[in-house]
Symmetry: C2
Subunit: 254 residues, 2 copies
């Protein structure tokens, strides 16, 4: 398979594309082609047989790459026809968002992340959203407070809570690539397997209204997340507050 052996680097950590399985390389290639406009919305991708011939891969491997792209909402499939490119959104953190008044030909937005405080160690809140195990409670909590901005406007406030279980020197070392997940992967070999979330609408209190530069009592999207990791019993918790006056939170299901 002739797909280019791109090397990704963040901080002291790097991994080669060649370490990835073939279906993921193909997945990334097609994703890049869609994002760069080689294939536009509504276009048919080459057929599975064509892709397997071109890239010298088995059709099953091609299908695995395509099914990941379906899962991520980049394409959808039509039996007898082929794989068709879906419309895309921009992502904000791990969410995608869309401006209300925008039409299809979106302009891009400048997304910034601001660290409100350095990561710090603290006790767990007594009224924590999820039930915690005694082990988690005893370990204490690493807390991150971040604000995500779109075009200079604060849109999302994110509190992340990590039980301090075998994570030496976490708070004293800076985040790699400004990303929590890159840091966990590189420094502690922790990967996220899946995430479970609960969403509700709440009224902004004084603190949240202030940080999101909106009025008190204005409706705010509150998302609570639990990330499951490859370390048995280690979960990461996140509490997100989104101002959806200008942007909505989008997702695709298949």
């Amino acid at each position: 398979m002739y797909i280019q052996d791109k090397k990704y680097t963040f901080g002291s950590y790097s991994y080669k594309m060649s370490d990835l399985p073939q279906y993921k390389k193909l997945q990334h290639l097609i994703k890049k082609q869609i994002l760069s406009g080689v294939y536009k919305e509504g276009d048919l991708l080459p057929s599975e047989n064509e892709l397997s011939t071109i890239h010298e891969l088995n059709r099953a491997t091609v299908r695995q790459a395509l099914s990941e792209l379906v899962k991520d909402g980049y394409i959808y499939k039509h039996k007898g026809k082929g794989s068709i490119v879906s419309s895309r959104r921009q992502t904000l953190g791990l969410l995608s968002f869309k401006g209300f008044s925008e039409v299809v030909g979106q302009t891009t937005h400048a997304i910034k992340n601001k660290e409100l405080k350095k990561p710090y160690l603290t006790k767990w809140d007594d009224q924590f959203f999820y039930e915690l195990t005694d082990i988690e409670k005893a370990a204490g909590c690493i807390c991150l407070e971040r604000l995500r901005m779109v075009d200079e406007d604060p849109v999302m406030l994110e509190f992340t809570y990590i039980p301090n279980l075998n994570l030496p020197r976490f708070v004293s070392k800076p985040l790699i690539n400004n990303s929590l997940f890159d840091t966990l992967l590189n420094n502690y070999q922790i990967e996220v397997i899946n995430l479970e979330q609960d969403i509700r609408a709440i009224a902004a209190d004084e603190e949240i209204a202030g940080l999101l530069q909106t009025e008190e009592e204005s409706p705010i999207l509150h998302i609570f997340r639990r990330y499951r990791t490859n370390r048995d019993g280690l979960f990461i918790y996140s509490s997100l507050y989104c101002n959806t006056e200008q942007y909505s939170i989008g997702s695709i299901f298949n």
Copy 2:
């Protein structure tokens, strides 16, 4: 494969389990076993090799069944270990919800659907959330208004909009099985391929507050959905208003 040949019936329409592919039969069997408590949260399922021996299926077929169960959040997999049963939620329409104060051993809730009006034909709103094609605009709009209740409390208000394209006598015939999707599948061979949704928090206006039995200006979750169907160019649109004071909207991603 010895899985029982269950027959599903709704209205005049019925299909046999034997019409389904093998991986879906296995998927449904395991799902039923999880929901009925044969496998509980945290349990290991039989290994892929065991399942393929037991059900006389190839391991690839078993893997396909399991990957669907992963996608739907029933299980997650751990390389080298096996497939592990996830915690489950109850579903409300196509959403799942969870009570805030509930712990793991949830009680079940009585879910009812109320049709606020008979389905009716109307014009499209000028300020419709999504851009409509001229064909859709010209066809007019079939509108459904439904209220979903949990334990007698109204929780979700659902407006569904369908372009009136080659759907003869839709408004004059009753819904099959009280379900829009069953009706579309049975009477018009229309299936949903995927769905795209946008979520935001809004303040309840008088109408929505009244129907959801809450106060004006209280925060409400608003979800706008576009369902893609197997008919080219036919989309179904839904506008959902959820009162999340007591319940949150949950989902799982992998």
